[in-house]
Symmetry: C2
DNA sequence: GTCTATATTACGATAGAC
DNA sequence: GTCTATCGTAATATAGAC
C-alpha cells in the first residue's frame, strides 16, 4: 500500500459508502443528498460514477446474491448426504452473510417497489427454494425431524440465519464469525434445551 | 352485524388500511398519495383524522408493543421455573405476532429516522432485555445449553420468532397460528435434527 | 367528513463551467 | 472528476368551500 487514502471515487468505493447509508436510513429513506454528504462530494458528482440511486442498489444486491449462490456451487454443498450438505450450507450462509454483511443486509430488506427490487426478491426466492430442496432430501432420509413441515422448518431456520444481519457488527467485542456460525448450526440442528 | 360496510373513517379504521400499505411499500416508500388511494379518500381527508404519517406509525407500533409487553404480565410468564416461563413467552410471542401481524411487522421494520421510530426501537430493546434475563435464569438453572452464549442464543431465537412476519399470511392454506407456535417452540428448544 | 386548490419544501436528475 | 445552478416532479401539509 504505497498510495494514501483515496480521495476520488470509483463505482466500487462509492458503493461501499452508499450501502452503509442505505442500511442506516433504509433505501427509500436515503436521498441523493444524504449520499453526497456521506461521500463528501456533491450530488451531481455521484452521477458521474453511477446512473442513479437504483444502480447502487442493483450493484449491492448483485454482490450479495453472488455470495449466496456461490455457496451452492461448493463441493460440500453438492456431494454427500443431504443432511451434511444442509449443515454445510447453513454454516456457509452465516459466513457469507458476515463477510458481505452490508450487501446481504440490504438484500434482505428489499421491499419490491422498483424493478430492481422485484428482481432481487425473485433471486432470493430461487435461492430459498434450492435450500428447501436440500432440507426435503434430508427429511426423506429421516435425518431431519418429521413432525415439523419441511417448508415451515426451512423458513424458521432461514429466519434464524438471516436475523444475524440485525445485530452482528464486525468491530464489536462479541462473537467472531466462526463462533456465530457454530452457534447457528448448533441451535438449528440440536436446539436450545440441554439434553 | 346489522350495519353495512363503513363508508367513513375513524383513526382506527384508517390505521388498518395505512399499516397494510406501510408493510407493502415500506414506511418511507409510502406517500400520503398512496394512502389516500388505498383508503379511497383524498389526501387532505386523511389529515382530518390524524396529524400526519408519523401519527399513523406511532399508533401502529404502540399497538404492537402493547401486545408484546402484555405477554410479560401473564401468569405463566411471571411464575414457575425460568425454562418453563421462557417457553411460554416464546409461544405467546409467536401468537401475538400472528394475531397482531401487520402492527408487529411494521414495528420490526422500523429504522430510526424519526423520533417515533427511535422510541419504538428503544421499547423493543427493553422487551428483548426482559426475555434475555429469562433465558439467563434458565441457563443458570442448567435447563438451557451452556455452550452457546446467552446473549447470542437470545438473538437467534428472537430471529427465528420474528421472521414469521416475513411469510405468515392468515388466509393461506398453510399452517395455523397454533401450528406455527408449536413448530417454533419445538425447533427453538429441541432443534432440527432427528434424535 | 370530504373535497379541490395550493403553498412549500424535498427529491432525483441534468446542464455546463472549470 | 468535481462543482454550482437549476429543472421538473413529487412530497407533506394547509386553506377554505361544500
Amino acid at each position: 500500500m504505497t498510495t494514501a487514502r483515496r480521495d476520488t471515487y470509483t463505482p466500487e468505493t462509492l458503493l461501499s459508502v452508499a450501502v452503509q447509508v442505505f442500511n442506516e436510513r433504509g433505501y427509500d429513506g436515503t436521498s441523493m443528498e444524504h449520499l453526497s454528504k456521506a461521500a463528501g462530494i456533491s450530488k451531481s458528482s455521484i452521477y458521474h460514477h453511477v446512473s442513479g440511486k437504483e444502480e447502487l442498489l442493483r450493484r449491492a444486491v448483485s454482490r450479495a446474491l453472488e455470495g449466496l449462490f456461490g455457496i451452492l456451487e461448493e463441493e460440500h454443498a453438492r456431494v454427500g448426504r443431504p443432511v451434511e450438505r444442509l449443515e454445510h450450507v447453513v454454516r456457509r450462509m452465516v459466513e457469507v452473510l458476515i463477510s458481505e454483511l452490508p450487501y446481504v443486509t440490504l438484500l434482505l430488506r428489499v421491499r419490491g417497489n422498483t424493478e430492481t427490487e422485484r428482481w432481487a426478491l425473485e433471486r432470493r426466492r430461487d435461492f430459498d427454494h434450492r435450500v428447501a430442496e436440500l432440507l426435503k432430501a434430508a427429511a426423506d432420509d429421516g435425518d431431519v425431524r418429521g413432525d415439523v413441515e419441511v417448508r415451515l422448518a426451512t423458513r424458521l431456520v432461514f429466519g434464524m440465519i438471516n436475523s444475524v444481519v440485525e445485530w452482528y457488527r464486525p468491530d464489536a467485542r462479541g462473537a467472531s464469525g466462526r463462533e456465530v456460525a457454530d452457534a447457528v448450526v448448533l441451535l438449528a440442528f440440536a436446539g436450545l434445551r440441554q439434553n
